[in-house]
């Protein structure tokens, strides 16, 4: 066979290995999508159709009544108001928790990396150590402490708990991000007369926007998906969506309404999912800029 004379771009070759790789990826994707598919399909079926037991078949007619029930009519114990209240509770818990923890973590990271107060490394080490201890261990002392300051079973209490438990990770990410910022930037601003807060708000925070986005997303999904802390600290009136979902799924009167359960589950999971889909590009960029570097 005549040897090809190399000229121009190298020709792409399709090898058996490559085909195998893509086949594997395709099957893996199917495997992980299957539960979601089953949930969506089941939520759109009527109970009589579900009883046929064909969980992979498409619904014969699209029936959205299960979604309506899940949102505003499903029962938890004896109250039948749907998962709606849980949704708004979760919003009320998550939004301030994310905003506060990101802000405090950003200030922490900024101070630890660019101002290096005395004992900065010890402080950072302690914070990290705190982050490594399983938080179940903190539950009881935390409950006692919250009760002592009259924050147990309150919205402010659960927000405070989320902020505290979020701090190690948020601080770590911001510290690593700000470590890569040239020290001279801070010096130049000091010569210009700016102080700690002015440098933070006018110079450092604008630089750290990608990191703010990433950390906000991490915190948002983490806090939205939290079950245990919400169950323990939020109190009956503020139970987050995850806890209420559990209550709905575990309430049985007569037959289990699988379609309602599926719809309620999807409603709960859709918020963090949507956030990842809408800002995936930012997420990757921020991770690449902050978490790996430094």
């Amino acid at each position: 066979m005549a040897r090809l004379h190399p000229n121009g771009p190298r020709p792409t070759q399709i090898t058996a290995g490559r085909i195998g790789l893509y086949a594997f990826l395709f099957i893996a994707a199917l495997f992980f999508l299957l539960p979601l598919y089953t949930m969506v399909v089941t939520s759109l079926k009527t109970m009589s159709e579900i009883r046929l037991g064909q969980i992979f078949s498409l619904p014969q007619t699209l029936d959205f009544s299960a979604w309506a029930t899940a949102w505003s009519g499903a029962c938890m114990g004896t109250t039948c108001v749907g998962i709606r209240t849980g949704f708004w509770n979760s919003v009320a818990i998550t939004v301030p928790s994310v905003a506060l923890s990101v802000f405090v973590g950003a200030v922490n990271g900024y101070a630890l990396s660019l101002w290096r107060p005395r004992w900065a490394n010890v402080l950072f080490g302690l914070l990290m150590a705190g982050g490594l201890i399983p938080y179940q261990i903190f539950l009881y002392p935390m409950v006692r402490a919250m009760a002592n300051v009259s924050l147990y079973n309150s919205l402010a209490g659960i927000i405070l708990v989320h902020v505290i438990f979020g701090l190690p990770l948020v601080t770590l990410l911001f510290r690593n991000y700000f470590v890569s910022v040239p020290e001279e930037l801070c010096k130049a601003a000091r010569v210009d007369g700016a102080g700690f807060w002015r440098i933070f708000f006018e110079i450092m925070l604008p630089i750290a926007v990608p990191m703010v986005v990433v950390v906000s997303m991490l915190q948002f999904t983490g806090i939205w998906n939290d079950f245990l802390l919400g169950l323990v600290f939020a109190g009956r009136d503020n139970l987050p969506m995850t806890v209420q979902l559990n209550n709905i799924v575990n309430t049985t009167m007569g037959e289990r309404n699988y379609n309602v359960n599926m719809a309620a589950t999807i409603l709960t999971a859709i918020v963090p999912l949507a956030i990842y889909f809408l800002s995936g590009r930012w997420f990757v960029r921020g991770i690449a800029a902050g978490a790996v570097k430094g």
Binding site: K187, A188, A189, V191, G193, R198, E202, I203
Partner: protein, 360 residues
């Protein structure tokens, strides 16, 4: 006359490790002082201490007749330019220039006037609405200089401002900084490790090593009469040639002898009384005369090993007694490696150092 900047018995240490020991300098108003030295000699630390960005261990710093040792950077009446430009990345050039003035709470019209004046001076008018990332390296450094100028202070501090630029831009900006100093007449303190910048810009150069000033003098003095071996070897490219030998006093006149070489030192201007003993003779490549026999000077004979033509001049490297010496020639050269030569040494332009490395 009152000094613009005065450093009194300054000491800076990191823990037990001293960076600067007992340093005192007086810098006159309108003076251009260059702090020159190898990396790690403490020159940037000294500049940061003057700026107030570095805590001092002992001593005093005075700027414009005021003891500012404990003052914040903004209250010291200084502007500073950094090596990495340190422009605020998310602000336009206009905002970068005006940041310090806005922090100080100056009226809007005053800020606009000052920014416009500075931008015109540095040819930044057309760039004011761009972001730093959209500028070239040279433009960014001009903005950084502008940010110092706009503060309208008495003393400017430069921390290796040209080190991040390529050679051509460096030459251009060097000339611009010199012009700026001639036009504005502010006191400038300039840190660099580049001897060309130091020699071209400075009124006086302070050569530092291990936190100690080795020599503080005009560029010409430092070039022609280095105070010790370190200064002699640090300044000049190619470096000064050194020959180890002894000073001997045969019939009353001092003579430098080394490996068959004997140089009459009666033409040398000693600054201290000498006795016989080991010494080092130093002479610059430009202080050798190619045709030694015709000049009547003592000659150093050898063979050419390398010829480095540089356009307007050329450097000849030749071997003498097992060591390589250099000679600078103006104009074109027809000599080739292997050719013999016997250049003459003008002892009046040479330098002699004693066994400790101090100038004789």
């Amino acid at each position: 006359m009152q000094s613009a900047v005065s450093i009194k018995d300054l000491k800076i240490a990191y823990g037990d490790h001293p960076v600067i020991e007992k340093m005192s300098i007086d810098i006159a108003p309108r003076e251009f002082l260059v702090l020159l030295g190898p990396s790690g000699c403490g020159k940037s630390t000294l500049l940061n201490a003057i700026a107030g960005l570095q805590d001092i261990t002992a001593g005093e710093i005075w700027i414009s007749g005021k003891n500012v040792s404990w003052e914040e950077p903004k209250d010291r009446g200084i502007g500073m330019v950094f090596q990495s430009y340190a422009l605020y990345p998310r602000m336009s050039i206009r905002k970068n220039l005006s940041f310090g003035l806005r922090v100080a709470g100056l009226p809007k019209t005053e800020i606009e006037a000052r920014v416009a004046r500075t931008a015109a001076l540095l040819h930044l008018d057309k760039l004011l609405d761009r972001r730093p990332a959209e500028l070239s390296g040279g433009q960014r450094q001009r903005v950084a200089i502008g940010r110092a100028l706009v503060r309208e202070v008495d003393v400017f501090l430069f921390d290796e401002p040209l080190s991040n630029l390529d050679a051509k831009l460096r030459n251009e900006l060097r000339v611009e900084i010199k012009k700026l100093h001639q036009n504005l007449g502010n006191t400038m303190i300039y840190v660099t490790h580049d001897q060309v910048e130091a020699l071209t810009l400075a009124d006086r150069i302070a050569i530092m090593r291990d936190g100690v000033i080795q020599q503080l003098a005009s560029p010409a003095e430092i070039y022609h009469r280095p105070a010790n071996l370190f200064v002699a070897g640090f300044i000049g490219a190619p470096a000064m040639n050194f020959i180890e030998g002894r000073i001997e006093r045969g019939d009353g006149r001092p003579v430098f002898v080394s490996k068959g070489l004997a140089v009459d030192l009666s033409g040398y201007c000693f600054q201290v009384a000498t006795s016989d003993g080991p010494a080092t003779l130093g002479f610059r490549p430009d202080h050798l005369v190619l045709d030694g026999a015709a000049s009547g000077l003592p000659t150093i004979a050898g063979r050419i090993s390398v010829v480095e033509p540089m356009g307007s001049e050329a450097v000849l490297w030749f071997d003498w007694a097992g060591q390589s010496l250099s000679l600078r020639l103006m104009g074109d050269v027809s000599l080739k490696p292997g050719d013999a030569l016997a250049p003459g040494l003008d002892i009046r332009k040479a330098s002699l150092f004693d066994a400790d490395g101090s100038r004789l």
